[in-house]
Amino acid sequence: MNAQAHPLSPEMRLLSLRDLSWLSLALGIVIVPHAMRAPWWLTLLTLCVYGWRFYCTLNRTPLPARWLAIGIAFVGMLGVWVEFRTLFGRQPGVLLLMFFSGLKLLESRTHRDGAIAAFLGYFLIITNFLYTQSIPTALAMCVGVFAITATLVGFSAPARPLAANLRTAGLLLGHAAPAAILLFVLFPRVQGPLWGLPQDAYSGMTGLSETMTPGALSQLALSDAIAFRASFERDPPPVQDRYWRGPVLWDFDGRTWTTSSGHSVRFEAPERPRLTYRYSIVLEPHNRAWLFALEQAAAVPPGARMSFDGQVLATAPVRSRVRYDMVSVTGAAPQAAESRSVLGRALRLPAGANPRTLALAQEWRAAGGSDADIVARALAYLRNGRYTYTLEPPLLGAHSVDEFLFDTKAGFCEHFSSSFTVLMRAAGVPARVVTGYQGGDINPVDQIMTVRQSDAHAWTEVFLSGRGWVRIDPTAASMPRRVMDGLAAALPQTQALPLFLRRELEWLRSARAHWEAVAHKWNIWVLGYGPERQRDLMLSFGMRDADWHKLTAVLFTFLGLMTAVLLAWSLKRLARPDPVQKAWQLFCDKLAARGVVRSVHEGPRDYTSRAARSLPASRRPILRIGALYIAVRYGERNTPPATARLRRLVRALRLA
């Protein structure tokens, strides 16, 4: 029975120009973000392949032979290999997918090929999420899915007007949305990844690094990207206390500060704090295990640990946005003990580097006084030395500290902290460099503190006997406004600032505040919706320990209900009787109540004239209704006003 050609089967239906246009439009929409990242020649090649396909349809020439398409595929793959030296990373893989979408289109002859090319479009949409998952990306996804759906609808109904097909596509997506939301919330989430990811999967994340060379932070300071957001349970700390601790750098080679992963310690909460801050942080992925916390951490989030130098570390690099709760305190009792080996490491300096700095420090040491006196003296030296704070520090050579302190006298926070630490070590005071973020703006819209990469900062901690490790911010000492009023205030007027740091663009900042407040909600509720948040949400609905059994049961219950509702809706729409027919039925019922029953074979004309004869008192209205019904049902007058009039007449009919 199925041997014959089946006119609805997609293999039998050829792609028309309209089908092709829609398919190309849909694929074009989903390709745009990839094309912007692709090397120009690949974008051009893909466009050429699209154009070629159109040429074939417009000129009714046969599609290129298979060997030719395979040849083009090889050219594209070769090009990608030359560009990336591999075909299997994330970027080359995604670019090849983009290129192959064009090739699939080129060899698409029937609706079946076209539909598979359209399904390929879904992969193009999802691969874009590897790069960005912002709100605009989500909107672009909706546009892309709509275009693909409209394409598929167009395949199913090639002769239908375009507007009707678009309406159907919209209706379908409208009906799909509740199920999609339900699935999103209730589908049991598992923690990925299921297998290893390509090497370059997480490249391109910005953030602090585990080394600090002169000029590194000033580059980061130009980035407006968000590092993390913190929402405090109560009042946030004052500006001068907003020191978010990150990696601690111990080892100096005369130019670059580095660290090596040290051992972790059993966490002991600081005692007798003066103030306690409870807050939660949503940390952007930065591909390191560092969790940032306000100085001084008084608790460690579950699954995290504390390093010996007081840094909070996650078990694995942060590769997706994470949210964690923190408690920090200020003014706790000092932990005055430190092991000799650690103190020895905090005094080590490279031999032969920065001789002038060493000489200066030894001069201070020789002058006598306590460690605290030396710290004060060094800070005074920096404050009075006419140092300039700049985003564009001069390049420094091998003796970077010497050059900064005595020659160029212009630098960014890494220069100040690096020099200060070297001075301390040279004078025999144990010191270490701490990098992290200093500052953070409260978003007036949702009262959440935003810390950006431009808040990246470096400072020093010195070990003073009896007081333990003490934070000293040499940058703040020489440039107090850096800490109090932010980067923009500390920089000289003549320097070019990142756009959003400029004072005059108040409205722009306000718009950004609104946007970021929305984005924060998006990050937490959409992008951050994982196994934990799902558990929390289920708990708030009263479902304890929601495992996948329970979730699946609930999910399918709801899905079943929803399908039933959708079916009922469609059936109701179908069963809804025609208003004309309904009015006529009412009319017949009224006549039947007076004894004039319509027989099955009787047409409306015969019936009304018979009724008019039987009920002469109502002759006129009966005949009028009959004539109107015939005109509406069988004639040209099937218009809403005529229908309404018929209903009115029937309702008003009073049979004597």
Partner: protein
């Protein structure tokens, strides 16, 4: 295999398809009669969804989940919409003009979408013959489909089972429904061309004076009438004047020819006799004589014209058919 099973168990088939044939009047395809399964593309779609889901889990892509689930919802909505495209369709059968055996009967079906939305891309297929057509049914409107079913034997040709199928709107589901409207087409016997018979004994008694037309004596011209055969039109005379004229032959007006079953050689079987009689009816009508038909158990008095011809042919078509 399933088809053969259903063929052997018509009751089971009727239960499965939700109706008992033939269905009189307008057939309303209630929801229970609409079947739906994923089409081949649907399996591709499922595969796509699966890969998207695995990718979303592996890369922890929240928007990937959103996309996957949106497409999952789309599949669900597509299923309802595909079923909806057939459900509550009203199908009625129109009149099928009689044909001769060996020709193709043209069955007319009317598809009516009574609800306020259109039903695009509906395939109507005649199961037995495979005759098929794809059409769009407009919103609250009617669409006509003509199914050409080969008529092989004389008698009543029932339409039989018809399948309605659709894959609208996404092509990932296939919904179909069977129905068997109460429509039939009258099939005349296959006409056998042969010369008209010699007058029978009865005709020789005086009822028939004209043997075969064309050998007649030319009697003159008269005004053309619509029922006149074109071969009797005096074309030469027409060329000279504006009026259509018909050649008149002596005795034609009164000519009566009995076409009789009994006249045919006894060696012929019934079907061949009917075929020959059918050919005679056609020939007699064409030549314009008055002719009557005598079959065992039926007799049609001599006359001429379309209605008479149809009556004769129907009598021949239904000769010996139980359900006449």
């Amino acid at each position: 295999m399933i088809g053969a099973l259903l063929e052997r168990n018509p009751k089971f088939a009727n239960w499965l398809y939700g109706f008992t044939p033939p269905e009189r009047g307008t057939v309303l395809l209630v929801h229970r009669r609409v079947y739906i399964v994923p089409a081949q593309l649907g399996w591709f779609f499922v595969l796509t969804l699966f890969i998207l889901l695995i990718g979303s889990i592996n890369y922890a892509l929240s928007l990937g989940f959103a996309l996957t689930f949106l497409l999952g919802g789309l599949a669900l909505a597509g299923m309802v919409h595909t079923a909806r495209n057939l459900a509550r369709m009203a199908v009625s059968a129109g009149r099928a003009e009689p044909v001769f055996a060996g020709e193709t009967a043209q069955f007319r079906l009317y598809l009516e979408a009574r609800a306020g939305f259109d039903r695009p891309s509906i395939l109507v297929r005649h199961v037995r013959s495979g005759a098929q057509m794809v059409l769009d049914v407009p919103a609250a409107g009617l669409a006509e489909v003509v199914l050409g079913v080969p008529a092989e034997r004389r008698g009543w040709l029932p339409l039989g089972r018809v399948m309605l199928e659709t894959r609208f709107p996404l092509g990932i589901f296939r919904a179909w429904s069977y129905l068997e409207p109460d429509a039939r087409c009258l099939v005349y016997p296959r006409p056998e061309r042969s010369a008209l018979p010699a007058p029978s004994a009865e005709s020789a008694k005086g009822t028939l004076r004209s043997p075969t037309p064309g050998n007649d004596d030319y009697a003159g011209l008269r005004a053309y009438q619509l029922s006149d055969s074109p071969r009797h039109v005096a074309w030469k005379a027409v060329a000279r004047s504006e009026d259509m004229l018909t050649k008149q032959f002596t005795g034609e007006a009164a000519a009566e020819l009995w076409l009789e079953w009994a006249l045919l050689p006894a060696a012929l079987d019934a079907e061949t006799r009917l075929s020959r009689l059918t050919g005679w009816v056609l020939e007699a009508e064409r030549s314009g004589v008055h002719y009557g038909l005598r079959l065992p158990g039926a007799e049609i008095a001599p006359a001429r014209g379309e209605a008479h011809r149809a009556a004769c042919l129907q009598a021949l078509a239904l000769h010996g058919v139980a359900d006449a």
